[in-house]
């Protein structure tokens, strides 16, 4: 990594966020910048890709390349970019609705390809930008503007979801502990392969200020717990299944071939290089040798 002596604040742009005062996403923004400082990545080598939602505005607040795309599609755009440009640090960011609802179909495929990108979900359990509708992580029974009589859908549990699909890096953190969050991000970016970090980010406007207290009362660090081993999938599942409290840390981490490794192996086998395009190798060129002009070949 090239040292560039940039500080966290240098990665943050002058654009004023649209987020409400007290939004957890401010902390996420600061943590990302801290992670970039820690890793000394040149800003022009970073591309942060998002979909639509409050948290998807984040790329605009960074001094890096950014792409604020359409609802649910951060992952395929990020994957396409990374597959085409392996030299870049590519990070997808967004909310729980963007990632688990409208874009939920892409997550399993990014995981099974193990594309070397990081995916940070700011999970606030609500649709904030559209003003308070239930999201795929809204707790069962909660009243929102679209669940007048209480939410009757069982919420998605992001850690189980990604572990279940075989993600090679799964972590959880919260902006209530920015240092921990930045550390998780550093680990994720350093991880070769698809790295998922679920970030419990409070929405004070639609979940109330008490969401801070709710998180604070329940959060704990799994690396301090007995039996913690990020290489042990069974241990990871034990913490993932804790739905009473909020476990923070790296649940699981596994070395595996990235999508790029797999592509490179194929190319190596083929001897791929930038060759000239020769028709004979690409299409059927009939051999008309021996035929002259006006040869009659079908007898009348």
């Amino acid at each position: 990594m090239i040292m560039n002596n940039l500080k966290a604040k240098d990665y943050i742009s002058s654009l004023k966020p649209i987020w409400c005062p007290g939004c957890g996403d401010y902390g996420v923004l600061n943590a990302i910048a801290m992670a970039f400082e820690e890793l000394s990545i040149p800003p022009e080598k970073i591309a942060v890709i998002s979909g639509i939602g409050c948290s998807s505005r984040l790329p605009g607040y960074l001094n890096t390349y950014g792409f604020n795309s359409i609802h649910g599609r951060a992952l395929p755009i990020a994957c396409g970019l990374k597959i085409a440009r392996d030299d870049l640090t590519v990070i997808a960011v967004g909310g729980d609705g963007d990632g688990f609802s409208i874009g939920g179909g892409h997550l399993s495929h990014a995981i099974r390809r193990n594309v070397d990108i990081s995916y940070f979900i700011m999970d606030n359990q609500i649709y904030g930008l559209t003003k308070g509708q239930a999201s795929p992580t809204t707790p069962f029974g909660d009243v929102t503007s679209t669940t007048s009589y209480g939410n009757i859908d069982t919420p998605i549990w992001p850690i189980s979801f990604t572990l279940g699909y075989g993600a090679t890096f799964v972590a959880q953190s919260t902006p209530l502990d920015i240092k921990h969050l930045a550390t998780m991000m550093v680990e994720a970016i350093k991880h070769p392969g698809f790295a998922f970090v679920n970030i419990i980010s409070p929405c004070v406007t639609y979940r109330g200020k008490e969401m801070y207290q709710y998180i604070r009362d329940r959060m704990y660090y799994i690396d301090k717990e007995e039996g913690y081993d990020p290489k042990d999938l069974q241990a990871a599942w034990r913490f993932a299944n804790d739905r009473e409290r909020i476990p923070l840390g790296v649940f699981y981490k596994k070395e595996a071939d990235t999508y790029r490794d797999r592509i490179d192996r194929v190319k190596e086998k083929l001897g791929s290089k930038k060759m000239d395009i020769e028709m004979e190798k690409l299409a059927f060129v009939p051999d008309t040798g021996g035929l002259g002009e006006k040869d009659v070949f079908i007898p009348g």
Partner: protein, 578 residues
Amino acid sequence: MASDVKIGLVGSGGDGVVAAGDIIVHAMASCGLYAMMMKSFGPQIRGGESSARIRLSSEKVYSLGDGLDTLVVMNWGDYLKFAGELELNDNAILIVDEKDNTRPDDSLKLQKVASIVEVPITSLAESSKNPKGKNMVVLGILAGMFGLSEGALVSAIQKRFAHKGEGVVSTNVTSFNAGFKYAKSNIPPSHLSLQASHIGKRLVITGNEAIALGALAAGCRFYSGYPITPASEIMEWLGEKLPLYDGVMVQAEDEIAAICMTIGASYGGVRAMTATSGPGLSLMMESIGLASMAEIPCVIVDVQRGGPSTGIPTKSEQADLMQAVYGMHGDAPHAVIAVDDVETCFEVMADAFEIAERYQMPVIALSDQFIGHRTEVIVDPDLGKLKRGERFIPQSGDTTSYKRFEDRENGVSPMSVPGMKGFDYICSGIEHDEFGSPSSSHVVHEKMCAKRARKLEHLRANFKPIQVYGSSRPKVALITWGSNSGVVREAVERLVSLGIDAGVAVPRLIYPLQTSLFEDFLKKAELLLVVENSYSGQFFRYLKSYIGMPDKAYSMRSSGAKIFMVKEVVSEVLKVLK
């Protein structure tokens, strides 16, 4: 003496009629002939009905012509499933397997057929110890009857089966010889004569392969797609070839991911493409709008099939036109271009990438099943000339004033690529100012809409002219597009030979429409006929919204699945002329 020969073959999937057709085309190409072959399938995965229609000619042909001169029927049940698509000429010869005695009655238009030749196809295959070799027997019979070069056919059979080993090759050649010998001693020879001329380097290739090869030559190095009939061959071909040229093919989880990966790769500076058919294009629409708004070059090929919904996946139609032009929400500048036949696939892919890169916008290239699955013998294209059009990338230097979406005269702004120091910007689908910062101001929106729209004006004014065949300012004007171009072009040749002042205009650039060129073409027109395969006449209505038409303007249209014949277009013109 005929200047062309039209041969049809129909049977069940296992009969190998398409393989036989392929062998005829490859063999005749090596004899210096031009050929066109249309494959048609039922919906079954294996073993359903399939047919091949081949036209052989010493000159380049633009359509499958009219009815068939010869039709090989492996069994009548399969023939009936294609009856509407396999019209016969007067005096056509039917070659049928004598084993199948379920011949339909006269109500099926078979009365005008000159002769039905019953041949023991099945038993010849069995006696040559190759029960699966009925198609080889048929090739031998055709060679014997019509004098198709025996050597060229045997050599094409050898090439086709070489990878299966010598045993398979010799078994198939034995079956071929059995048919050939039978024909020579039992069937009177037919007098067909074709002369090869202008021997030069040729290619035998399908439309989908030509699209893929054209894209590769145009510089495409990233492809992401999702399997769909009738476009999958593009993906399969690129999946095999791209890794050889330092490129990547990614099979996406759905069409939305396919177009988004394509956009992501292009944002990273790599020429990128996806291909699909109507249902996939519907899924891609929101993302194509993103590419328009965020000004990202990308190419989307739509090999149209019968629709709507699942429709008829294995057959052709031209009814995605309105979707391609108007499918996106908002005012989303993009280009739509169309291929006319297999040969134009190369140029059209070069055009597609040139427009996409130069104007930083999505380009939808429309093909259809009729072209995609059709094999043609074509003149070898100059692949070296297909990579055209550079992206406008800012030069290193002053970065403080860099405006990614700078409001310039032709609407094209400098587009940096991640990795360029100091030129970082936010690319977004949300409305933005010249720097890329989000804005919901009416003033900014109006200005940026105008900037993006100016690209279309520039493109319209600078793109190559529409193709006109026949008279350039005709009294009897025809307009068509895509796969009907060849049919109408030949119809116009016939009308001209009848002394009618006829001409046909064919746009390559469908959107934005080159309105003034059409108006010039129609200047002296007393009558206009618009020909298309869309039940509701999408192209007619589209043209009508942009150009003034003569009082006598007619729409000749039908749904897909059945392609117009040249004589149908000729008689429609003669009918409306009365």
